[in-house]
């Protein structure tokens, strides 16, 4: 192969270099489209004092929630952290710090991090606790607050299919935060359900161009469902 072949043979290789105190950006929304195997590998590695950037922090015993069990996370930047008793307990004990960020601002901060935009103005959060201490500026007579970009030492991402160059597509709403996370890691690691050969994905239909992906690993996924809601057949 060649220098563009991003495939690595194991989760160990995929996360080599991740160490204590690093910032990890994770794709996923709730338990949908989360990099299950990479999270499990972080647990196995035992790295600690992590800052985790993710819309949510998993549930008890699944997703990012598993990193709470051995207290590997020092700080979480998220928009919503319910659904997790261990998290609540560590938060109340002061063992973990949480920086709540509006969901759209979080998505945009990660996009900005990947896109070389150090900061942007948004109306979201003005006049609320989120806006406290942030610069306010008016444009067209309306107040906006300044929000800064987020980047990570690692980004962990889950896609559906990727070719060996790391060009990837996501399935349904499992896309969510994954494409932004992929752009914002100093090292971006992607796990996928299927690795295909270059050329199998239509170039204009690629969600994440391979330039953002450093390591690609074939994963296996449980795909747990958080709220199974059905209607009568």
């Amino acid at each position: 192969m060649n220098g563009f072949d991003k495939v690595v043979g194991s989760y160990e290789e995929a996360l080599a270099g991740l160490s204590d105190g690093m910032t990890v950006i994770s794709g996923g929304f709730g338990l949908c489209g989360i990099p299950e195997g990479l999270i499990a590998q972080i647990r196995r590695m035992g790295v600690r004092e992590l800052t985790v950037v993710s819309n949510n922090c998993g549930v008890d015993g699944f997703g990012l929630g598993v990193l709470l069990e051995d207290r590997q996370i020092r700080k979480v930047i998220a928009s919503y952290v319910g659904e997790n008793k261990l998290f609540e307990q560590q938060l109340l004990n002061g063992d973990i710090e949480v920086e709540l960020t509006p969901q759209g601002t979080l998505a945009e901060k990660i996009r900005a991090g990947g896109a070389g935009i150090p900061a942007f103005f948004t109306a979201t959060g003005y006049g609320t606790p989120v806006g406290e201490g942030k610069e306010v500026r008016h444009f067209n007579g309306r107040p906006f607050i300044l929000e800064e970009a987020i980047t990570g030492d690692f980004a962990i991402v889950k896609a559906w299919k990727a070719d060996r160059y790391g060009n990837a597509i996501y399935r349904h709403t499992a896309q969510n935060f994954n494409p932004m996370a992929a752009t914002a890691g100093r090292i971006t690691v992607m796990e996928v359900e299927e690795i295909v050969e270059p050329g199998e994905l239509e170039p204009s239909q690629i969600h994440t161009p391979g330039i953002y992906v450093n390591r690609l690993v074939l994963g296996r996924f449980e795909k747990r469902i958080e709220q199974r809601t059905v209607r009568a057949g």
Binding site: G30, L100, P102, Y126, P129, Y170, T173, N176, V230
Partner: protein
Amino acid sequence: MALTREQMARRAALELRDGDYVNLGIGIPTLVANYVPDGIRVMLQSENGLLGMGPFPTEDAVDADMINAGKQTVTAITGAAIFNSAESFAMIRGGHVDVTILGAFEVSVHGDISSWMVPGKLVKGMGGAMDLVAAARNILVIMTHADKSGASKLLDACTLPLTGAACIRKVLTDLAYLEIADGAFHLKERAPGVSVEEIVARTAGNLVVPSDVPEMRFAL
């Protein structure tokens, strides 16, 4: 009589126009989708990246990769579009969603809204609510007129931390439909059988009552 949840949803649905893109919050707002009037079609936006949300799936169609912003399994309608979270909030923040309907703890005469944080209780997060209220041109808040202890939720100033400032113009409660303008709630409709006096008594914030307050209707 105070409105039932279903009546509130039915009245709220009358705010929808054919061709509206709509974001519905959890709780009563979600029910609004069940009462869209005949001849009107709306398309539901779910902020995790789905435009054209359909009903829950049948058991055999459940797919872990297909959820809504409430993390429930859902379907997509024919003609739906799916995209990433930055795009989804670009759509919201940029004002492209026509109507947002969501719940609240408190609303003020200045259009401030508190809906995400009760000091002393564990704070789970604002999710997408702050983005939605900061961006939508047309927001309808649905909530009970008073909290469980009977205290009014329509106030001169919110007592809880805000979700957004000066962004709410319309409030539907179990007692009334009100519009917010010029630092006051303007009573526009009352629930059937509910007197103006009762609404006045249960509204803490500055309330403007016109000479005629019609009873609420539930169909166009």
